[in-house]
Amino acid sequence: MKQLISEFASDPDMMELVNYFLDELPDRVQRLQNAYEASDVTQLKTLAHQLKGSAGGYGFPTITESAAELERTVLGDEAANASLAEKLEDLLELCRSAMLTDQD
């Protein structure tokens, strides 16, 4: 799996923030999975929405884009369920790639 590195990784002032975000990320990933398995659409929407609004600020614009995709799909009609699983998997994949960095 390719590492996803924060755009701010080279900025020493931002390291504390990026690390904070990465520390929190496993919990977010877990909650996204739980929400999907429990078919908790409201929770899924909230989590996607929050990641969309924050990840870019921590230097992960691709996570923001992917979370926005997921949010759009959740907001869409139910026939898009297959697509929902895909979008979620895309987002989780990106999050895991980012989490790799932390484990260096």
């Binding site: 929190e24 929405h49 929050q50 609004g53 924050s54 990840a55 870019g56 600020g57």
Partner: protein, 314 residues
């Protein structure tokens, strides 16, 4: 007299995501800003009241009530409606922006935000807010003397009367009128008359911090004295009278400018304890001072009975 605010502007962030709170706290650390946080609309509203922020960053999507709802509450409150609100939302569709701005938000910043842009928008909102406050204050200040004007006096006296009644504390009023001011203007010219009004205004404002000095009209001034009974107010008036009477004026060694003073105290024993009655009482006493030869302090007689009653009552 002007309200001093600390040089660090206070930003209230109403936002449910800790990611955003943390991001803002760290990224705005170098700015001259103090940041306070709320995680939902209800606690956010409570913090607006307690923290008195200079600008609010408000998330549209909150766990309890919507950001639009918070915004509408703020704009419906006369005390809070001027505080600038910048909406932050990861929905940057036109409908969200238009609705927010039409509800009275000063700005809209999409999430995730560029921090340099957010800082500039915060600075802009804070600048506008300080101008609004300055304008509001100017509208209540007398241009010549720098004292509070009549508009402010009327509002403030009504407030102080309500406070005095609620806490059962004394409240006094001094009305002061410069003696023979027309003669001073005629003899020395209006520029000198204006200068005399300014100097006297400065002296009137130089008293105890809690006293509120106002220019009531042409050469008439009023001082509201919270938590002060008639006798203590009379001492304040007497000190001022003496100071005016002994003051020398540049290049006019023979000139003395005196003033007459009328003092009244709020009468708590009647239901008619309103500003009109209190002003009338001080005016009556001022009239007595003028008739008795000017350059003196007269007390309103019924006020003094009220004062006795007040003291007897404990």
């Amino acid at each position: 007299m002007s309200e001093q605010r600390s040089s660090r502007a206070k930003v209230l962030v109403i936002e449910d995501s800790d990611f955003i709170h943390r991001l803002l706290k760290v990224r705005l650390r170098q700015e001259p800003l103090e940041i306070v946080s709320a995680h939902d609309g209800t606690s956010g509203m409570a913090m607006v009241h307690s923290a008195n922020p200079d600008v609010i960053l408000l998330d549209v999507q909150l766990p309890d009530i919507s950001g639009f709802n918070v915004l509408a509450q703020l704009k419906a409150d006369a005390e809070l409606r001027e505080i600038p609100v910048i909406l932050i939302s990861s929905n940057d569709d036109v409908e969200t922006k238009v609705r927010g701005l039409d509800l009275g938000a000063i700005d809209f910043v999409p999430k995730p935000f560029n921090i340099a842009e957010l800082k500039a928008r915060l600075r802009s909102a804070i600048r506008i807010y300080s101008l609004i406050r300055l304008l509001a204050q100017r509208a209540q200040i007398d241009g010549l003397t720098g004292l509070w004007n009549r508009t402010f006096f009327d509002d403030r006296l009504t407030q102080e009367i309500a406070t005095a009644r609620r806490h059962k504390r004394p409240l006094s009023l001094i009305m002061c009128d410069i003696d023979h001011f027309k003669r001073i203007n005629d003899e020395y010219g209006h520029p000198f008359g204006d200068q005399a009004l300014q100097t006297i205004g400065t002296l009137l404002d130089d008293g105890r911090a809690s006293d509120v000095a106002c220019r009531y009209g042409g050469e008439e001034f009023a001082i509201i004295l919270p938590d002060t009974d008639l006798n203590d107010a009379a001492l304040v008036a007497e000190r001022l009278r003496e100071r005016f009477a002994t003051m020398t004026w540049d290049g006019r060694d023979d000139l003395r400018i005196t003033a007459s003073f009328g003092v009244s105290q709020l009468n708590m024993t009647t239901s008619a304890a309103n500003s009109i009655v209190l002003i009338q009482a001080a005016d009556d006493a001022l009239y007595d001072a003028k008739n008795a030869g000017r350059n003196r302090v007269c007390l309103h007689s019924e006020s003094s009975q009220a004062d006795t009653a007040h003291r007897a009552a404990g």
